[in-house]
Structure formats: structure tokens, C-alpha cells
């Protein structure tokens, strides 16, 4: 049991404990929202917004804002609101709008980083931001508390609006027709998604956020036929994969983000297989 001892040794370090706490919370939040996004055919929103957040982070770094999150969060929220609740006129071209915003934010972010950066190792910085290779292991206590606070808020909102979220995901027209304030709920959803993505950038980095949002939802949809079942299963899958990925990456010295995504992929393959065997239609 040498690996267990190694793990227990590592758990004595605060940064490892922080990483586990933050990892589990982010995995939980992103999987809950992921179900809604996938079902609303907005799978790529996570990817697009994470690039926007990357761009914003680069700008913040270049301008010299001390707390990057205070700048990144509002910008990402704004983009999420524009994309998700910008009205039907915009939503018709939803995928194109997301792709455009995502690519330009990525390009401009890298450009600004290159021109203004004071660091000697620009490529290394970009790699870190995009793939989040070390940032989850360098969290400060303040960041952990911020993350805990925001996660609790997200989960609370989610529980309170669970039935409303179901209604606007399943049938927005019916919800509007029977007098629900769909726009308000879409707005809340957009804000929550933006918050989660900015949080998740610390864990898996900008490029791999999509995986964190999409994989648990897709895995759960292979196995369950009810909305609640899918939600619960997605959350469980996501948390397990995050813990497994973190532990493996600590023990084997692999990069954190890709390890978590690999774990998600493996679980998805398993779920797809089980679903196929049980004959649930994909």
C-alpha cells in the first residue's frame, strides 16, 4: 500500500487539500449546469465562454489588475448574457456567434499577452492558462474561500430553481405561454454558467472546460431516463472523475486537467457500453 501512504503524505500539504475541495466543487457545479446546456443544444457555450475568460484574463494581466478574477468574471458574465438571452434574433445564429466570440477572444488574448507581457516565458504562461497544468495546485486560501462561496451560491440557486430550469429546458414556448418569466430565468442561468466557467478555469484550464461540462451529462443520459436521474448521476460521475483525476495526477505526476478529462472519457465509454447493453436509446 505504498501509493496510499504517498497519498496520505500528500494530504498533509494544504495545497493538495485545497485542490481537492475546489476540484470537487467545480466538478459538481459544472455537471449540474452541463445537463441543461447539452439539452438546450448549447454544448459549445462552455468552450466559447472559457476562451472569452482566457482573453479577459490576458487583458487583466496586461493592464495590471491585481485580482484577475474581479475583471474576468464580469466580462464573462456579460458575454454569457449576450449569447444565451440575447433574444431570438441572436439565438438563430447561436453556434456561429459562439464560435466567433470564442476565436476572437482567444486570438486577441494571446496577442495582448505577447505584446504586453512582462514574463520571459510567454508560451509557458499560455500553456498554463489554457491547460491549467499547475494553477489548481497553487491556490491561495482566499481563492479557495471565494470558490466555496460561489459554489454554494450556484448550488443553492440550482436547488431553488430546479423545476423552473426543467421547464425552460424542456419547453421554453410552453413556459412562456403559461406565464413564466423565462427571460429572467435564462438570465440567471447565463450568470451562473459564467461564474462556473471562471471558477473552472482554475481547475482544468480554459481548453478543457467543455469536457467538464459535457461529459458527465452525456454519460448520465446514456443510463437514465428521468431528468432527476440524469442530474444526480451527472453530478456523481463528475465528482468521482474529478477526485480520481486529481489523485492519479498527484500520484503519477501527470497534468491535472487532462487527467480529469481522461477519467471523464473513460466513464463515458463505460456508460455508453452499459447503455447499449441495456437497450436505452441514445
Amino acid at each position: 500500500m505504498t501509493w496510499l501512504n504517498t497519498l496520505l503524505d500528500y494530504l498533509h500539504y494544504p495545497f493538495v487539500r485545497y485542490a481537492l475541495v475546489v476540484g470537487v466543487l467545480i466538478a459538481l457545479c459544472s455537471s449540474l449546469l452541463g445537463v441543461t446546456l447539452v439539452l438546450k443544444r448549447f454544448s459549445f457555450l462552455g468552450d466559447g465562454l472559457s476562451h472569452v475568460a482566457f482573453g479577459a484574463m490576458c487583458v487583466a494581466g496586461a493592464v495590471g489588475v491585481s485580482d484577475e478574477m474581479m475583471f474576468t468574471l464580469p466580462v464573462t458574465i456579460l458575454c454569457a448574457v449576450v449569447l444565451l438571452s440575447g433574444g431570438n434574433r441572436l439565438r438563430l445564429k447561436g453556434d456561429a456567434a459562439i464560435a466567433m466570440m470564442s476565436v476572437s477572444a482567444l486570438a486577441l488574448g494571446y496577442l495582448i499577452l505577447n505584446v504586453c507581457s512582462t514574463s520571459a516565458n510567454v508560451a509557458g504562461d499560455v500553456c498554463t492558462t489554457l491547460f491549467g497544468s499547475t494553477s489548481i495546485l497553487t491556490l491561495t486560501q482566499g481563492e479557495v474561500w471565494l470558490c466555496v462561496g460561489l459554489s454554494v451560491l450556484v448550488i443553492a440557486l440550482f436547488v431553488l430553481f430546479y423545476h423552473k430550469i426543467f421547464a425552460i429546458t424542456f419547453d421554453e414556448t410552453f413556459a412562456t405561454a403559461t406565464g413564466m418569466r423565462v427571460r429572467v430565468y435564462n438570465l440567471i442561468l447565463a450568470v451562473v454558467i459564467a461564474v462556473i466557467i471562471v471558477l473552472a478555469m482554475n481547475l482544468v484550464g480554459s481548453l478543457l472546460i467543455s469536457a467538464l461540462v459535457i461529459f458527465p451529462a452525456l454519460s448520465a443520459m446514456r443510463l437514465f431516463g428521468s431528468f432527476r436521474g440524469v442530474m444526480v448521476c451527472a453530478a456523481a460521475v463528475s465528482v468521482c472523475c474529478a477526485v480520481a483525476g486529481l489523485v492519479i495526477s498527484i500520484l503519477a505526476g501527470t497534468p491535472v486537467g487532462p487527467t480529469i478529462v481522461a477519467a471523464d472519457l473513460a466513464v463515458f465509454a463505460l456508460c455508453a457500453l452499459v447503455g447499449r447493453l441495456r437497450g436505452v436509446r441514445a
Binding site: 439539452l39 423545476h163 424542456f170 410552453f174 428521468s226 431528468f227 436509446r281
Partner: protein, 234 residues
């Protein structure tokens, strides 16, 4: 519900003008007409999903906007949506909840009652995407009934159903109208069925209403007799 001189359309395009008609409590109004004559736009306007370009739509006494029941055409997203029948039917009760985040026992009971009425109570735990087209429509009808006790709006409820399921759907709707006194407004392609069941007919043509009146008047007017002479095509 009264429509007075209503003009329908989108921002730049007028779809239909000068529509005037009244639906009394207990009526069964069928809206027929060709594709593109503005039937669906009329429905959206009645539901307040989009404003009329001119004129006004009044809801009668004791009828509030949140008390409409609506059976929309199915969307692509819904066909493979992972949700159980019970969850979908209960979501029709949401307009009673307001800001309250959870359902009360009475709302669960109401959903149960309507599932039984539609003959789908035994499917409550089944997954929506595994049901047949006719069963899916009954689920959505039960949801619409949860949202209303008075007025039911149906948008082509039999699209894509086989003949047997179509007949059952029509029978369910007329039974709701006759036995429970629920006012029905239905959009339909199927003029023959509309004439058989409905108490009133609104026939929409290009840019205007060609006819509004009771079933008996419709049977006597040119649109119906002319149609029969031409062998069924309108």
C-alpha cells in the same frame, strides 16, 4: 376571449389583417386554412408570445394569462429529452407555484388526476423519449391541462400521428370540451375532422379571415360546399 380587428405579423411583414372573432366559454373553435395563412402566428399572438401589430386581444372575465393551457408542436429537442412522464406533466403546474421552488401535494395530485384522465398514469415513471407519438401527445396534453381549467390551445395536435392515435386524440379533446366544459381553440389541417367536432370554425385565407361562424353556418357557406364540389381540395 375576443379579438377585435387584429393584425398579425412580424416586424416588417404582415401575415393577416382585420381578424375579428369571439370565443365564448365552452366553445370548440377550429382554426383551419392553408400553410402560410397565419394560423400559427395567430396562436402565438393569442398566447402573448408576440404582440399583435394592431387591434387588441381581450381575455374574458376570470381568465388570466397564466391560466392558459397550450399544446405546442413538438420540437426536435423534446424527442430525445431524458425526462420521465411524471416530471413533464408536473411541470404544467409551475404557473401555480410563483416563486415557490417546490410542488405541493395538491399539485402532485392534480398531475396524477390528469395523467389518469389521459390514460397515461401507468407510464408515469417511463422515459418520455421511449413513448410512441400518440402517448407523447397525451403527456403534453396532460401537462396543458395542469396549467388550465378553462382554455386549451392546441397547435396541430395530430401531426405525425397514425390514424388510430389521431382518432383517439380527437376523441380526447372533444370529451374534454363536452364533459369538463373546457374551451378549446385548435389549429388543424384536417377540415373534415374540424367540421365533425368543432362548434365554431375560423377559416383563414391569404392575409385575412375567409370565414368565422358556427359549424352549421360553415356547412352552408361556399367554402365548404365549394370544397365538396371540387372533390375535397380547398
Amino acid at each position: 376571449m375576443t379579438c377585435r380587428d387584429v393584425t398579425l405579423g412580424y416586424e416588417h411583414k404582415v401575415v393577416a389583417e382585420h381578424l375579428s372573432f369571439t370565443v365564448e366559454a365552452g366553445d370548440y373553435l377550429c382554426i383551419v386554412g392553408e400553410n402560410g395563412s397565419g394560423k400559427s402566428t395567430l396562436m402565438k399572438t393569442l398566447l402573448h408570445l408576440q404582440p399583435p401589430l394592431a387591434g387588441e386581444i381581450q381575455l374574458g372575465e376570470g381568465l388570466e394569462r397564466s391560466q392558459l393551457g397550450y399544446l405546442p408542436q413538438q420540437t426536435e429537442v423534446q424527442r430525445d429529452f431524458p425526462a420521465s412522464v411524471g416530471e413533464i406533466v408536473r411541470s404544467g403546474c409551475l404557473n401555480r407555484c410563483g416563486l415557490r421552488p417546490f410542488y405541493r401535494a395538491e399539485e402532485r395530485a392534480l398531475a396524477q388526476k390528469h395523467m389518469e384522465r389521459m390514460g397515461i398514469a401507468h407510464l408515469a415513471r417511463r422515459c418520455y423519449r421511449e413513448l410512441s407519438g400518440g402517448q407523447q401527445q397525451r403527456v403534453l396534453l396532460a401537462r396543458a391541462l395542469c396549467a388550465t381549467q378553462k382554455l386549451l390551445l392546441l397547435d396541430e395536435p395530430v401531426t405525425g400521428l397514425d390514424p388510430k392515435a389521431t382518432q383517439e386524440m380527437y376523441q380526447l379533446v372533444s370529451a374534454l370540451n363536452r364533459e369538463e366544459g373546457i374551451t378549446v381553440v385548435m389549429i388543424s389541417h384536417d377540415i373534415a375532422a374540424a367540421v365533425r367536432d368543432a362548434s365554431h370554425i375560423l377559416h383563414m385565407g391569404e392575409h385575412r379571415a375567409l370565414f368565422f361562424g358556427t359549424r352549421a353556418e360553415y356547412l352552408a357557406c361556399d367554402l365548404w360546399t365549394g370544397r365538396r364540389e371540387r372533390g375535397g381540395a380547398v
